[in-house]
Chain length 287, copies 3
């Protein structure tokens, strides 16, 4: 009953994702505060841009607006979704680390749950998805990219999950997202090293699928990828995608509270707080 | 107790496979109606040919004869099994889709169980197995090829699981069969796209192991692969193969009824029936 | 609670590993009988050499000293561990097969448990680990190499798990160790064939990461790999490594007795005893 369970799963996920959130009703082409949706009338493809200066840090608000936009694009039955940034230098700098510094535990729980919601919304999105990575994409920026089905990147950028460099230990589902794209040996080594791949390196290992010279070319390559599904039945495609991705999300869906507790327990250790403090000071000095 | 469990598993599988079927007793070199077995006296390798014109559609009868032949070859302690087609254009066109169009549910249950049996018989076959793919190999034709341990293909053919193109959602064990050969990222994308790989593409991603210029050369390369096991102990080899493949079959063996119910539930949806109808009409027009 | 469970896991493993063994207290640079530890004062990296002539067969005693040395290096907070051989021709010839020939069952149980302990100690070692493979590395020699995070090999050697050639069926955790490094398709085929990869072949499939011209160069490349972790937090790195490796060890840790029973049951079959006998006689003739 996998196919039935998948359909049930979808039903079950939606209330989790939207529970308690007031979803603003947005027409196509409208903008929420921190994201923009543009639908190409000819292709039917929706381009979702992160639009929070200076570096698209995944704050509570940006994550809310992203979830909202993904749900909207999905329910509008667009032909596909391209995730990109309106910022030319950074795709997304990753999670708002200030939420993890001396956190209020209740707020931290909301923050981490929001991040789980965002990953689930993108990883299980029924539409074809692609990322036009037009800026650096470290940490959770990379996790968002790997949750898409295709990645096109501009040259001379970096992408990767460098959590061990700021003392963070990622969740298993973030590892799963990496392993859905890269071979096991490469994933373990890259996670342990906190490796940031340059664009060409990312292409060589398969972390990205193509390099494009401009954002326009990247968007066009993403659209070409989405067009490869034209001859498929959309419902059969969606169920097949979810069957492939079900092992990645199973543990998280079965016990979201466990992942949450584990995150809170670790973030509140002195070990992590000291490591994060040093990392944030290092970032300030660089500016 | 994995090794013991594996041996038990083998015992357990056999009655399932053969239960209720009257197995015709066939001498080496004899033919059942729809398959042919030829054993090379020098090499001891059995070549099993599918022989149902025009395109080796996997009908109830062809699947019965294939299971029968695989069991016979295995119990005769041949040195290896090569699966091929007596048709020069098509290896196998896949399942008989007419069994899925407005099906009688009881008949559909028998049909799907037969397909499960066939995959289990080939995927868990104790002998070294190889496929000489001398014709197109779409859908279940590809699943049979991936259940073998080695694949040699002729040029200018296509192979792949294009189920999403006729609205079908494959079972998880068919996905496992694909993933036993291809990397996860490639499997998900190919399944979602319903991709058919040209021979050279199939070689490049590892879906086939070699390209051969003629059927004779393909058979010869398959025989050379089977000869790579000459220095191994056959029982240790068989138990090792089954240990590697146990994760692929575990879920199916634990609950065959669930997979069956899921298939029947999906095939009888209007969504699938409409998609299949359109697909079959498209095929007719092409003729 | 994965991260907490991992930390608990570490606590749980240690008593298992050390239980009942009298650990000799060794200063840095000191030698136990069969292994040598050299710590580079500048780099802080410990080089652990197997030193049991003629071919570093993994006897009960060598395995004891290896576990002891790994634990010592880990508790001394060295910067990393390089495993190598003081023998220029053989890294390790693998398990002492004489322990498996007409074995006393109690002794066999101790022997296999020791091997489980050794693999767990190396596979879960919190430090960065690398193998400088300066000699042939068949069977359990290969398993030790794959338990490390990086492998540098000298030319014109062979490495691989050739168990099916002497009628042995490896445990699932040994297969997991192989699969943590190589793609699934390659693992199954290599295990079934009992394949020994030449150095260059091993590099091509990813079983080793680099080829070096001399032992000195191999050690230096291993040290360079260990230096890639310099910017990471050691605790976060260790927890991340264990998260990646947890699926490999889960089944073994949950039921070590089952793996032990399975090994004893198989080793004491006439099938294996006859195969081993023939193999050992073949080795004698070659000398």
């Amino acid at each position: 009953m996998l196919r039935n369970r998948l359909i049930d799963g979808v039903r079950r996920i939606k209330p989790i994702l939207c529970g308690g959130q007031s979803l603003r009703s947005l027409a196509n082409g409208a903008t929420s505060k921190l994201t923009t949706i543009e639908v190409d009338d000819r292709s039917g493809i929706a381009t979702l841009s992160m639009n929070l200066p200076p570096v698209n840090t995944l704050t509570m608000e940006l994550m809310h607006d992203l979830i909202d936009s993904i749900n909207q694009i999905e329910s509008n039955k667009s032909r596909g979704l391209i995730l990109t940034s309106s910022n030319d230098k950074v795709f997304s700098a990753g999670l708002d680390l200030n939420e993890m510094l001396n956190p209020d535990v209740e707020r931290l729980r909301l923050f981490w749950t929001r991040f789980q919601d965002l990953w689930l919304a993108l990883h299980l999105c029924g539409l074809p998805t692609a990322a036009a990575i037009n800026g650096h994409s470290p940490a959770a920026g990379c996790v968002l990219a790997t949750a898409c089905e295709y990645r096109v990147m501009l040259p001379n950028l970096f992408i990767g999950i460098h959590a061990t460099r700021f003392s963070f230990v990622i969740s298993k589902w973030m590892m799963n997202s990496y392993q859905s794209v890269l071979p096991r040996r490469i994933v373990e080594r890259a996670l342990n090293q906190g490796k940031l791949f340059a664009s060409q390196e990312a292409l060589d290992v398969g972390l990205v699928d193509e390099i494009a010279c401009s954002k326009e070319e990247a968007l066009s390559k993403c659209a070409a990828f989405i067009a490869t599904f034209d001859k498929t039945n959309p419902v059969a495609r969606c169920l097949t995608k979810r069957m492939c991705r079900e092992p990645d999300v199973r543990e998280l869906l079965q016990d979201r509270a466990a992942d949450l507790k584990e995150c809170v327990d670790y973030v509140t250790t002195p070990l992590f707080q000291e490591g994060l403090c040093a990392h944030l000071e290092g970032l300030k000095k660089r500016k």
